[in-house]
Symmetry: C2
Subunit: 102 residues, 2 copies
């Protein structure tokens, strides 16, 4: 069963980038208790205003899908939705490297 | 001094993706000895043939730049160059999350 990774590009509504980043950092904090989440790092984009990238790695796609069913995640998404102007996902297969959990 | 992160999208020449991924995995192995490199993970793209993403996080931009001066890196780049059809970089500022080294 392959590990599952996804890089998610969020475009925030005007002036809502910091507030959205804060919620995503809370989500990252929550993943520390979520089994199957290896990596969940929030980044601002250096050259693109109102843009946040979250790079995630999960034990497998099922673990990722299960995390989206958690009540805490659902509430988090509700809070974040009004702040989001766009979302793009790049589905990846992590194959190794420094910081990669086998 | 902010941490420095970069997501690098490599497009391999036709049929050269696996060979390029192997070289990037060697580079990742090398970064395990490189001070200042927090994360260097190689991914294949699920929905894009011949595409490799490397997500990197460095203590700061200077540490990243210094790594590019290493002889081992220069030799690695020489080996990879003929296999690469395109490179795109997304410069990021990591702000926190699971797997993030403060």
């Amino acid at each position: 069963m392959n590990k599952f990774a996804v890089s998610v590009k969020f475009t925030a509504q005007d002036g809502k980038c910091d507030e959205l980043a804060q919620i995503l950092l809370e989500a990252a904090e929550m993943t520390k208790e979520v089994e199957g989440c290896d990596l969940y790092i929030v980044h601002l984009a250096e050259n693109e205003a109102d843009t946040i990238w979250v790079n995630e790695i999960w034990r497998n796609e099922e673990a990722h899908a299960a995390s989206l069913e958690l009540e805490s995640t659902i509430m988090m998404i509700q809070r974040a939705k009004p702040l989001i102007a766009g979302v793009e996902q790049i589905r990846l297969i992590p194959v190794g490297g420094k910081g990669f959990i086998k």
